[in-house]
């Protein structure tokens, strides 16, 4: 029996971390931090959660402390956003390459300058290639669910990779929504105790983090890449088991009214919920428009994505980030590349919008669909389209 409560996204993460019964929380408490560590600190102080709470001196140290905790076999959690994630960058690779299954929630925010703490995916895209499993959430229920799932799959002995759970800054992190919280015994059934077989222990000494000269580094990286891609099977299995226990099923590539669609919008994060309203309207008026929610970002669900778009004419990809000087927005460029080898592939039109917390309204998505189809038909000199920008945008060219 679950109980339905009103929670902001940050507190939904904190509840999941509490129910996951973590051993160590390390976090830097100052901007751009959120209510997540604040609530967790409260829980530890009140005795609701028996964990070691380490208030560190920077995000770099927060991540490092979690690496250390994971090395001794502790369940470790860490959280940040925007600039804070940038400061962790170096240690993110250490965690994934050393195969430490720590979990981090990231409230996605724009990057300076100009200084911004509002929703944007630039922070996520900058850590895309760090070797972490990465999922985007649409609402606070997903925020809770994905956080629990992250521990479960990351710690699986067949996986052993760290997991990032993305929730949009403010739009989810600070917005209250109804969330179903499960019973502790259901959580315990889903999430067994962490048993990390390489935990550092003086009784059984071993070396973590040895150096890798040129004669072994490549082998180490290929082994990591193969294991990372292979982990997808366990991620899917984890979602299946999650659904069997909690009744909510998740998929790496989620389709919304995509049946017989000729045009599909592709989104990540909370904007998908606004876009779905527009899809509903278009479907009511008989237009074959649907939506793909790209939940699993890393490892990229190549097979599932190709399957989902094989009969579609036009894909409209919405990026909440600019890849400066690149061949398109980061998600759009990847998807174009992912589809290139298909016999019959859809036209791909990229949009960039919603930067630094800018609202993207129902009206904006109406424009995105109409303009997207027009560009698919007639082409455009601009490499990507924009939405909600004051002044006509020209000059995004190769």
């Amino acid at each position: 029996m679950s109980r339905r409560v009103a929670l902001e996204g940050s507190h939904a993460v904190a509840e999941a971390v509490r129910m996951a019964n973590v051993d160590v929380i390390a976090s830097y408490p100052i901007t751009p931090q959120t209510h997540i560590p604040e609530r967790l600190a409260e829980m530890v102080a009140n005795g609701e959660l028996d964990a070691e709470y380490i208030p560190v001196e920077s995000e770099h140290s927060a991540m490092s402390a979690c690496v250390g905790a994971a090395a001794v076999g502790a369940r470790a959690f860490n959280t940040t956003s925007g600039q804070g994630l940038e400061l962790m960058h170096e240690v993110l690779y250490v965690a994934s390459s050393m195969r430490y299954p720590t979990v981090m929630a990231i409230c996605n925010r724009g990057l300076s300058a100009p200084l911004s703490v509002w929703a944007d995916h630039s922070d996520a895209m900058a850590v895309r290639d760090t070797g972490w499993i990465q999922v985007f959430c649409q609402n606070n229920q997903e925020v809770f669910d994905m956080t629990l799932w992250a521990f479960r799959v990351g710690e699986d002995p067949r996986v052993l990779f760290p997991v990032m759970v993305y929730l949009d800054g403010f739009t989810l992190s600070h917005v209250i929504e109804p969330v179903n919280l499960p019973q502790q015994e259901e959580v315990d059934r889903f999430l067994p105790k962490l048993q990390y077989r390489f935990a550092l222990n003086p009784d059984n000494p071993m070396t973590h983090g040895a150096f890798g000269p040129p004669d072994i580094y490549t082998e180490a990286k290929i082994a990591q890449e193969v294991a990372f891609r292979k982990s997808k099977e366990v991620l899917l299995q984890g979602w299946k088991e999650f659904g069997d226990i909690f009744g909510r099923y998740y998929y790496p590539v989620e389709l919304y009214k995509a049946e017989n669609a000729k045009t599909l919008l592709v989104l990540q994060g909370s904007l998908s919920e606004t876009a779905k309203l527009v899809v509903d309207k278009r479907r009511e008026s008989g237009e074959p428009v649907g939506l793909i929610y790209l939940r699993l970002w890393r490892p990229f669900p190549l097979h599932e994505f190709r399957q989902a778009v094989k009969d579609v004419d036009t894909l409209i990809i919405f990026d909440r980030c600019i890849s400066f000087g690149g061949p398109g927005g980061p998600v759009c460029s990847e998807i174009r590349s992912a589809l290139y080898d298909m016999e019959r592939r859809p036209k791909v039109v990229g949009f960039v919008g919603g930067l630094g917390g800018r609202d993207v309204s129902v009206g904006d998505f109406e424009h995105v669909i109409d303009r997207g189809r027009e560009v698919a038909k007639k082409g455009s000199e601009e490499i990507f389209e924009t939405v909600g920008v004051r002044g006509e945008v020209v000059g995004i060219r190769g």
Binding site: F198, T207, T218
Partner: protein, 102 residues
């Protein structure tokens, strides 16, 4: 040192490396000639040495050995030539000489 065969990188393919490149066999650095990239060599002058053991204490690599006669001497199999032993020795009993001059 003797007995065990030293594994090299070529004993591994990407398939048989341990998860996270963890080395489960502890302490195998002692099997390796870790001093072979030294540029300066410490030379002990037993005449000056008073067997105080400071060099042994300070060597960051644990490369200073206690000999049977009570003297402390850098083990060149592991010594990296950092010069710390020479620096901490109050008796100036250790001097550093460039390897190429030897």
């Amino acid at each position: 040192m003797a007995g065990k065969r030293l594994k090299t990188a070529y004993d591994f393919t990407w398939r048989n490396m341990e998860v996270g490149n963890i080395v489960t066999e502890a302490g195998n650095a002692s099997l390796r000639r870790t001093g072979d990239w030294r540029t300066d060599r410490p030379i002990l002058d037993k005449e000056k040495c008073n067997k105080c053991g400071l060099c042994w204490l300070y060597c960051p690599d644990g490369a200073v050995e206690l000999l049977e006669d009570g003297y402390y001497e850098p083990d060149l199999y592991y010594c990296k030539g950092c010069g710390i032993c020479a620096d901490v020795c109050k008796r100036e009993a250790i001097i550093m000489i460039q390897e190429e001059e030897i």
